[in-house]
């Protein structure tokens, strides 16, 4: 069993620089994934992940054990993504849609091409719906649904109460359902109610 994040942070604070490499290897993909979902650009997601680890490394001495290392890292990455989105708005450059249209859409590989196509359409619709959410709801949905953080971790990462996280998530899911239904996605149809 490897060392926990907190043990690695302690080792790094004690001068064991290689411990940070383990943290990077452990969290890089997830941070990059979150950044990609926030920004819609693979290039920018890579940059954000790199920048987030650099910031974390520089601020490691000031890291306190009040929150988990992963929450702290997500907080840094989320703030970096917010900055980028804000800059993008002021510059009015490329839209998220246009950015992601150029990149590959990864869907589960299945032998049935028709199903693949349907799933790709669904993925595009989901992406559009999530990017159309207000920033607060979008962050919570992405961190919960795709990064699989606990409510407490999300609360620490976003520096808000846990109940606020749940409220934003509930509202976000409701918005998503409406948007997907409007796009003709019927997967969100109700399942048969379980027998009482």
């Amino acid at each position: 069993m490897g060392r926990s994040d907190e043990e690695l942070v302690e080792a790094c604070q004690a001068g064991e620089v290689s411990a940070f490499d383990i943290l990077v290897a452990r969290w890089e993909d997830r941070i990059r994934g979150a950044a990609f979902r926030f920004l819609g650009s693979e290039e920018e997601a890579r940059d954000v992940a790199q920048e987030a680890f650099l910031k974390a490394y520089r601020a490691l001495d000031g890291f306190k054990r009040e929150a988990r290392f992963s929450s702290w890292l997500y907080q840094i990455a989320t703030n970096l993504c917010r900055d980028r989105l804000r800059r993008r708005k002021t510059r009015a450059t490329v839209s998220l849609e246009a950015l992601e249209e150029t990149g590959p859409v990864m869907v589960e590989t299945r032998p049935d091409a028709h199903e693949r196509l349907l799933e790709r359409d669904l993925a595009q619709a989901v992406r559009r719906a999530i990017h159309a959410l207000p920033e607060e709801q979008r962050e919570v949905v992405i961190l919960k649904e795709y990064q699989e953080l606990t409510f407490l971790e999300i609360a620490q990462a976003l520096d808000v109460p846990v109940s606020t996280v749940k409220t934003r998530l509930y509202r976000g899911l409701g918005q998503l359902r409406l948007r997907l239904e409007r796009e003709g996605i019927h997967g969100a149809a109700p399942l048969p109610a379980p027998a009482p």
Partner: protein, 218 residues
């Protein structure tokens, strides 16, 4: 048909916990109890679960290795061919290197042999020179040198005298030509003067004749 507890935040948070598997036993029991008696919330939960399945369709691209060119994927046969070519090239390279190395060694051996032969030849020449002392006949050498100097001096004198003679002849010819030209000029001048004098004399005679004739008339 709406739930009568639609504004109950505690129930809503509990539903979120159950939906994402974070509910403890007490919360789970409370939510399930409510769902059992509330078709609206049961439907809501079912919709949320279906929505979560749909949301799973959006995936993150796999990170590309830094050294892979973007969007370029080699077919397997091409990759195999490239590997084969690479192997063939490597074999050729090794074989070439070995043969080049051999040629270099042979060349070095040949150069060493040539150098050795050269040294031996030099040594042999030096030995021959040392064994035969050199004798020089200085008197004969001096005589030969004198003869060559005399011969050169004679040839030089002869060339000088010939050149002087040629110049003297040339000068004489020029002086004679000049003398002739001068004589011709003097003759021409005298002739001219004679002519003038003759005319003058004739005119005087004529005048004298006129004078004589006039005096006689008188």
């Amino acid at each position: 048909m709406d739930c009568e507890r639609v504004g109950d935040e505690g129930l809503r948070d509990g539903m979120m916990d159950v939906l994402y598997g974070e509910a403890d036993a007490a919360v789970r029991a409370r939510v399930e109890e409510h769902l059992a008696g509330c078709p609206a919330c049961r439907e809501e939960m079912a919709r949320l679960r279906a929505l979560r399945r749909d949301l799973g369709a959006w995936r993150v691209p796999v990170a590309r290795p830094a050294f892979t060119p973007r969007g370029v994927v080699l077919p397997r046969w091409l990759a195999a061919a490239a590997l084969l070519l690479l192997g063939f090239g490597a074999t050729l390279g090794v074989a070439g290197y070995v043969s080049l190395r051999r040629a270099l060694v042979a060349q070095e051996a040949r150069a060493g042999e040539l150098e050795r032969q050269h040294r031996e030849a030099v040594r042999a020449l030096a030995a021959t020179r040392d064994s035969r002392p050199v004798t020089v006949d200085s008197a004969a050498l001096l005589a030969s040198l004198d003869a060559r100097v005399d011969e050169r001096l004679r040839a030089n004198e002869s060339r000088q005298s010939e050149r002087l003679e040629r110049r003297l002849v040339d000068w004489e010819e020029r002086a004679e030509a000049q003398r002739r030209v001068d004589m011709a000029r003097v003759a021409a001048s005298l002739s001219y003067l004679d002519g003038r004098h003759g005319q003058q004399l004739a005119r005087t005679n004529e005048l004298m004749g006129y004078v004589l004739e006039a005096s006689q008339k008188r």
